[in-house]
C-alpha cells in the first residue's frame, strides 16, 4: 500500500513524549491481550443476560434433577444422584410420551413444510389480486395459539362443528375425545397455526431465485416439475433446512394447543413430552422429575439438531 516514492514517515520513537502504537511494551502478546480484553468487554452485557436467564437456570435444573422431591411440602429434598434420571428415562410413561411426541413431530413438520412451500409456489405468480391470497396465506402468523385452538375447538365441536359434520361425526363422541383422532387433530391445528410463518419464509426465499435461472432451464428443455426439483428447490434448500430445524424444535415444545384442546387426553393420547413435563411440575408439583424431563428434552433437541445439521446440511446449497 505504501508509496515507495513518498518521504520516509517519521517514527514515533524519534519524537519524545509520544508512545508508539502497535506492538508496544508487551510486544505482540500485549496487543492481542488488550484486544481480547476489549472483545470480552463488548460481549459482557450479552453474556450477563445469558448467564442469568439461560446458563444459571440450565445448571440449576440439572442439579434439581439429582434431588427427589419430598412427598409432602416443607420436607427436605433428598439427594439421589443419577438414579432419578435413570428411573424417569426408563419409565413407561416417559417412553410413551416420547413416542407420541415423535409422532406429533412427524405429523406436523414434513406436512407443514410441504404445505407452506406449496402455497408459496402457488402465490409466487404475477397475477392480478395475488396479493389478497398472499395476505390470506400468511395471516395465521398473526394469530396466537389460543385463537387457533378456539377456532378449531369450535370446528371440531361434536354438536356445532363444521369438521364434525363433514366427517359424519356429528352428535357422537367428539374427534378430540377419540383416542386415534385426537393427536392428528391437534397436529392439524399446529400445522395450520405454523403455516403462515412457513409460507412467509418460503415466499421470501422464492423471490430470491433469479428469474434468469428458471428461464435458462426452460430454454434448456426443462419442464415445470423438472425446473422445480432441479433448480428452485436446491436454491431454496437453506430456507427449507432452517424451517425444518426450527419447526422440529417448535413441535417438540408445542404446548398451548394441547393444553387448550385436550389437556393431554383422551387417556394420555395427546400427552406429549412437554405436556407430561408441565403436569409433573405444576399439577403434581414434582420438581425433581420435571427437572429431569427438562434436561432430557434439552438433550434430545440438541442431538436431533446435531443430526439434522450432520445429515441434511450436506444437501443444502448456500450462496452462489
Amino acid at each position: 500500500m505504501s508509496d515507495p516514492g513518498a518521504a520516509p514517515v517519521p517514527t514515533a520513537e524519534a519524537r519524545p513524549g509520544l508512545r508508539p502504537i502497535g506492538p508496544g511494551r508487551f510486544g505482540r502478546w500485549g496487543r492481542s491481550l488488550r484486544e481480547a480484553t476489549l472483545g470480552y468487554l463488548f460481549i459482557l452485557p450479552a453474556l450477563a443476560v445469558f448467564g442469568v436467564f439461560v446458563f444459571y437456570p440450565l445448571v440449576k435444573t440439572v442439579i434439581l434433577g439429582f434431588y427427589r422431591t419430598p412427598p409432602f411440602p416443607n420436607l427436605p429434598s433428598q439427594f439421589v444422584g443419577l438414579s432419578q434420571y435413570r428411573s424417569v428415562i426408563s419409565s413407561t410413561a416417559f417412553l410413551e410420551s416420547l413416542w407420541r411426541t415423535v409422532l406429533f413431530v412427524l405429523f406436523t413438520v414434513p406436512i407443514g413444510l410441504a404445505l407452506g412451500l406449496g402455497l408459496a409456489v402457488l402465490a409466487n405468480q404475477r397475477l392480478g389480486g395475488i396479493q389478497i391470497f398472499r395476505t390470506i396465506f400468511s395471516s395465521t402468523v398473526a394469530t396466537s395459539v389460543a385463537v387457533a385452538s378456539v377456532i378449531f375447538y369450535t370446528l371440531l365441536n361434536p354438536e356445532v362443528g363444521l369438521f364434525s359434520y363433514w366427517l359424519g361425526r356429528q352428535g357422537g363422541a367428539g374427534i378430540l375425545s377419540n383416542p386415534t383422532l385426537a393427536l392428528p387433530a391437534v397436529s392439524v391445528v399446529t400445522i395450520w397455526q405454523n403455516l403462515g410463518f412457513t409460507f412467509i419464509l418460503m415466499s421470501a426465499a422464492l423471490q430470491g431465485v433469479p428469474d434468469e435461472l428458471l428461464e435458462a432451464a426452460r430454454i434448456d428443455g426443462s419442464g415445470q416439475w423438472h425446473r422445480f426439483w432441479r433448480v428452485t428447490l436446491p436454491l431454496l434448500s437453506p430456507t427449507v433446512f432452517f424451517a425444518m430445524v426450527v419447526g422440529t424444535i417448535g413441535a417438540f415444545q408445542a404446548f398451548g394447543q394441547i393444553d387448550l384442546l385436550t389437556q393431554g387426553g383422551p387417556s394420555n393420547h395427546t400427552d406429549v413430552l412437554i405436556y407430561y413435563l408441565y403436569q409433573q411440575a405444576f399439577i403434581f408439583n414434582d420438581t425433581g422429575v420435571a427437572a429431569v424431563l427438562s434436561v432430557v428434552l434439552f438433550v434430545i433437541l440438541l442431538i436431533l439438531t446435531f443430526i439434522q445439521f450432520r445429515f441434511f446440511e450436506r444437501r443444502v446449497f448456500y450462496g452462489r
Binding site: 435458462a216 426452460r218 430454454i219 428443455g221 426443462s222 423438472h226 436446491p234 452462489r320
Partner: protein, 376 residues
C-alpha cells in the same frame, strides 16, 4: 484452434422469421411491428442502445415472451404457441445464468438430462464440448469457483452441447474484460463457421456488431432501423440514428439551415460557428427537394483541422490512442464534433481555437424531418 473437437454428425441450423411482431407492456411498446428474416446458418447481430427492444426481440424468439401481435417462425414453422422448452433453441444469457448449485459438468449436462439423453451419450458430448472450449479441467468445480471468462465458456458449452437449431445470445461478452472480449469475439466467429448454426446475437457494442455479424439489424425505440451487411450499414446508413450509432467514433450529425449567396457552388449548411459547404451534386439534391434546412452527417475521418476552414470550434479534449488521435471539438452552439487525425498530423492543445474544413465534401445528407438518408 481450440474448437477442433466439436463436430456434429449433422450440421443443424434453421431460419428465424419475425413477421410484424409487436410486443407491448401496458402502454409501452418494446418491439414495434418488427419484420426480419434470418437465414439458416446466418450470424445476425441485433444492435441498438439499451432499452431499444433488442433483448425483448430475442426473448420473443426464445419463447420467454409472447408477442402481442405478429408471427414468429423457426424453420418456416410458426412457433407462437410452442413453449420455450420445445423450440429447440439455446440461449446464452448476459449474466450466463449458470446453475450455482451444480458443478460445471452438471451445468453442461442439464439440457441433456432435461431431454433424457442416454448417459453414455451425455458423457461423450460433455467430454467433446468441454475439451474444445478448454474447460475440461473445470468440470468438477462450481460456477462460483471459476473466473468470469471461464463461466462464459461454460455458458457457451451448455448451449453448444445440445446441438440446437438456433443460438440466441444476449450480450454474452459484456461482462468480460476488454482483452478477453476481443479474444472471445474471434472464437465465437470461428465457432459459428465450424458449427454453421444460426446465431441471433444481441449487443449494444457496434464494434462487436461490425466485426462479428454476417448482417446487422439496428433497432431504436422498438423499431427496426436498418438491416444490412456491416459495410453497407457503415457506408450507407438508412437514417441519422444509424449514422450516429455506427462507427468508432460514430458519425458527426449536425443540423443547420441551408443558405446561398446566389452563385453556383456556394450552397452551405449554416451551423453555429460557420458553415459546411455543400458540393454541387449534394446541393442539387437539396434544391430538387426544396429543402430549407438539413441534417448533415460527416465521419470523423472526413473532417480536417485547417486554418482555411469554414467552421470554427474550440478543442475540448484529445484522445490519444497511439495509432490514431481523436480530437473532440466544441462548436459555438455547444455541439460536439469529433475529428480523427491522420498519423503524423500535429495534435492541437485543449482550449485551442481551430478551423475545420470538409475536403471533398464527403458528407451524408438526411431529411430534416424524417431523418431518412437522401440519396444522391
Amino acid at each position: 484452434m481450440p474448437l477442433d473437437g466439436v463436430r456434429f454428425e449433422v450440421p443443424r441450423s434453421a431460419s428465424v422469421g419475425l413477421e410484424g411482431v409487436t410486443k407491448r407492456y401496458g402502454d409501452a411498446t418494446a418491439v414495434d411491428t418488427m419484420t426480419l428474416e434470418i437465414g439458416a446458418g446466418e450470424f445476425l447481430v441485433l444492435l441498438g442502445p439499451s432499452g431499444c427492444g433488442k433483448t425483448t426481440a430475442l426473448r420473443l424468439v426464445a419463447g420467454l415472451e409472447e408477442p402481442t401481435t405478429g408471427l414468429i417462425r423457426i424453420d418456416g414453422e410458426v412457433v407462437n404457441d410452442i413453449d420455450a422448452k420445445d423450440r429447440d433453441v439455446a440461449m446464452v444469457f448476459q449474466s450466463y445464468a449458470l446453475y450455482p448449485h451444480l458443478t460445471v459438468r452438471r451445468n453442461i449436462e442439464f439440457p441433456l438430462r432435461a431431454r433424457h439423453v442416454a448417459a453414455e451419450d451425455r458423457s461423450r458430448l460433455i467430454a467433446e464440448v468441454s475439451t474444445s472450449l478448454q474447460i475440461a479441467d473445470l468440470l468438477d468445480r462450481r460456477p462460483a469457483e471459476i473466473s468470469g471468462g471461464q463461466r462464459q465458456r461454460v455458458a457457451l458449452a451448455r448451449a453448444i452441447v445440445r446441438q440446437p437449431r438456433v443460438f440466441l445470445m444476449d450480450e454474452p461478452l459484456s461482462n468480460l474484460d476488454a482483452q478477453l472480449r476481443v479474444e472471445m469475439r474471434a472464437e465465437l466467429v470461428e465457432l459459428h463457421e465450424r458449427l454453421g448454426t444460426t446465431i441471433l446475437y444481441v449487443t449494444h457494442d457496434q464494434v462487436e456488431a461490425m466485426t462479428m455479424g454476417d448482417r446487422i439489424a439496428i433497432m431504436e425505440r422498438g423499431v427496426l432501423q436498418q438491416v444490412g451487411i456491416p459495410q453497407e450499414v457503415h457506408d450507407r446508413p438508412a437514417n441519422a440514428f444509424v449514422a450516429g450509432f455506427i462507427g468508432s467514433p460514430p458519425m458527426n450529425i449536425l443540423r443547420g439551415a441551408l443558405a446561398t449567396t446566389g452563385g453556383a457552388g456556394d450552397m452551405q449548411v449554416v451551423v453555429a460557428g460557420g458553415g459546411i459547404p455543400l458540393p454541387d451534386p449534394l446541393a442539387a439534391v437539396t434544391r430538387r427537394r426544396g429543402l430549407t434546412s438539413l441534417i448533415v452527417g460527416v465521419r470523423p475521418e472526413h473532417v480536417v483541422i485547417d486554418p482555411g476552414g469554414t467552421l470554427s470550434a474550440s478543442v475540448m479534449m484529445v484522445e490519444a490512442l497511439g495509432h490514431e488521435n481523436h480530437v473532440a471539438c466544441r462548436l459555438e452552439g455547444g455541439k460536439l464534433i469529433m475529428v480523427r487525425l491522420a498519423t503524423g498530423e500535429p495534435i492541437p492543445r485543449p482550449g485551442e481555437r481551430v478551423m475545420l474544413s470538409f475536403p471533398g465534401g464527403r458528407l451524408q445528407l438526411f431529411d430534416p424531418v424524417t431523418e431518412v438518408r437522401l440519396d444522391v
